[in-house]
Symmetry: C2
Amino acid sequence: MTAWKNATDLATARANAFQEALVELLKIPSVSSDSTRKAELEAAAKWVRDFAEDSGLQAEILPTDGLPVVYGERRVSDDGPTLLIYGHYDVQPVEPLSEWSRDPFDPVVRDGNLIARGSTDDKGQFLALLCGLQVAFESGLGPKVNIKVLIEGEEEVGSPSLVPFIRANKERFAADAVIISDSSQLGPGAPAITYGLRGILCMELILRGAKQDLHSGSYGGAVANPANVLTRIISACQKPFGKIAIPGFYDHVRELEAHEREAFRELPFSEEEFLNEVGAPALWGEEGFSSLERKWARPTFDVNGLTSGHQGEGSKTVLPREARAKFSMRLVPDQDPEEIRRITEEFLLSLVPKSVEAEIIPEHGASPVLVSTDTDVFRAAERAIETGFGKRPVLVREGGSIPVVNTFKEELGIDSVLIGLGLPDDGAHGPNEKFSLADFQRGVLTMAALVDEVSKHS
Amino acid sequence: MTAWKNATDLATARANAFQEALVELLKIPSVSSDSTRKAELEAAAKWVRDFAEDSGLQAEILPTDGLPVVYGERRVSDDGPTLLIYGHYDVQPVEPLSEWSRDPFDPVVRDGNLIARGSTDDKGQFLALLCGLQVAFESGLGPKVNIKVLIEGEEEVGSPSLVPFIRANKERFAADAVIISDSSQLGPGAPAITYGLRGILCMELILRGAKQDLHSGSYGGAVANPANVLTRIISACQKPFGKIAIPGFYDHVRELEAHEREAFRELPFSEEEFLNEVGAPALWGEEGFSSLERKWARPTFDVNGLTSGHQGEGSKTVLPREARAKFSMRLVPDQDPEEIRRITEEFLLSLVPKSVEAEIIPEHGASPVLVSTDTDVFRAAERAIETGFGKRPVLVREGGSIPVVNTFKEELGIDSVLIGLGLPDDGAHGPNEKFSLADFQRGVLTMAALVDEVSKHS
């Protein structure tokens, strides 16, 4: 118990320093989808490398075909267990800026939350794990546990470089389990381990008509309007209540097991509170499914962006030259992103009239995943969360995608343990993203406890 | 003939000065839909007032409930005929700026065309008329013809203030005919008088779901996506090939007369050249109608702008908080904009699910119009165009709207004569708007000749 007492004392003593470190990292606008932000992404990588070094890891920046990864290692035993910690230093875009109450890269604490782009996704979450390692190492926890840390910079654009990089460095990343904090608790006071993730497939459809915007009076009726056509094609992909009309889309959808539906029903989840959190006029979705089932285990087709013609104030009577729809589909086991991409492209193109030209931009995809809940590290993680949060975690699925979870399974044969430190209303990907400082500190303790638990049971 | 010889000599001598004047006016970014451009709109009004004064009119700026109008008058006879010249000094927005080859308010001459926002719509066209008046007055043409000039600043936003202003000043605007150059020739070397205009109705539909953008993984499937719903509602307004699905939409559509279809067929119009001008992959429209019939005499439903969610580079997996569609319907005799507005709103709202909130912004509307071709001034205009352009004009209809044509008819009982100086591919409302300097000069001569013709035949 002395080592653990030391660890908790140290975590408390360092709490302010850890917060200040997180604030520093959040100030770096490392938006990976923005090709003008390369310098900031590299600055974020350097910052993480330095922090990992200061925490007791041998750390370095490794080049990839795209943005660099930070790799850190602490090797203490040839026969001890090895944990691979994964996170990402890149963040989502911040548009529309007008919906933020302040600069997304000038973090502020409000009501116990740190508000900034990347606070919960994923800088705050992975940094809690690094801080927990620092605490564990300095307190003498887990003397035989080997640690590897891999923090990448392309998660928000589908990790295109990481997959070949891992494939080319299998020895380096060999481990018994991957630990990832890039998800959510079920709610405040309901810490969770996520055992299932939806897959994803992103695309953009661009339709082009006339060579330039035309006066809708002088030409309307005699020239096809790409924006009109776009609404018809995107509409044709949908059926009422969230069903998808793309032929073959449901062919490989695995239905939920009875025991999962039962377990979901017993979770502390209130449809009313969920509606309140969302702030929509009403909930919505596939008939015959609960909200949790809809967002965790049913596929979707969602428009992420529409752009055409006049975007400003007032009316402008043009036939737009071009119309664009960005959309993403969330996939569930056993849908294959590449097959869905193929049938979706086929369907879209079959709807394009000869009066417009279509271009489909293939964006990133990831397979859905279910991880094993029956491993030593998984059970150690359950106990560590109970220590860090004072409450046993619930087992949940999540609607989002963490593409590398698949990569780790497919390339390295390792299951991931997804420890959610965030909250569902943190606003990942939206404006005013936040992360609870109390959960940050609980995450630090959870990681320290996980090193301890893995050490004791190996 | 001496007066007419003087006029043509003067027009030639002044050609450069007239062009320079037009360039000055085009430099003023008088975008009426942009509420931040009030000062520029007022500057444009002052410029027009000064030019009218210099041309021999008694001119002043008259306040309205909105932007001011420029009014000029030259009263020479109690029993002579009176022409009312109408134009507008405001212009369309310029977005997207990236599609302009240069600053839209820094005019340049290229291939004999002046390129700038407003060059053809309507600064270049109405200024040709004012220059023609200057030439006529100084050459002694039309000694008994009274002239009134009315140049407004809200045409591109539906002339909301002009209608009550004319209604309140009926005496001031009394005239035998209105002369308007805010339309097009049928093509190069085919000058035209437009005897029919489509009406218009503009609206914007805004759908709102959650209180902020949401992560499409964490929420997708359980929360309605306003952008998805928007595509379905806008799609539901359309049938294949440009037919409109709003119930009751066609109830009052007047079919083309057989003699009109016959006359249209005889016009020098090539579907192939039209396609080439447009630059689309193929022509398109209602089955059983020619392109001219489709764009002149059939109603339309056109999306003018779509805005939702992520507009930038790459993918961003959000459920947008809001989705917007701006759209306009072109109307034909005897459709009533207010009735169409009512049935459209009813139809749209009937399609809105309870999971999103809808707002409909009513934008401007105007009735379709057919003017009499059987008047003295109409026949004088045919001869004046033959003098100015060296070619007898064809009689056409046009797909665009000039709302005041209705106002002049309804409030003052006066028919308008629409003398098109522009060309169909001038790009009014689009990027790189242009106006031929040769047509500008032909317009000057046409106006001078019109004063002369009206004088001789009255």
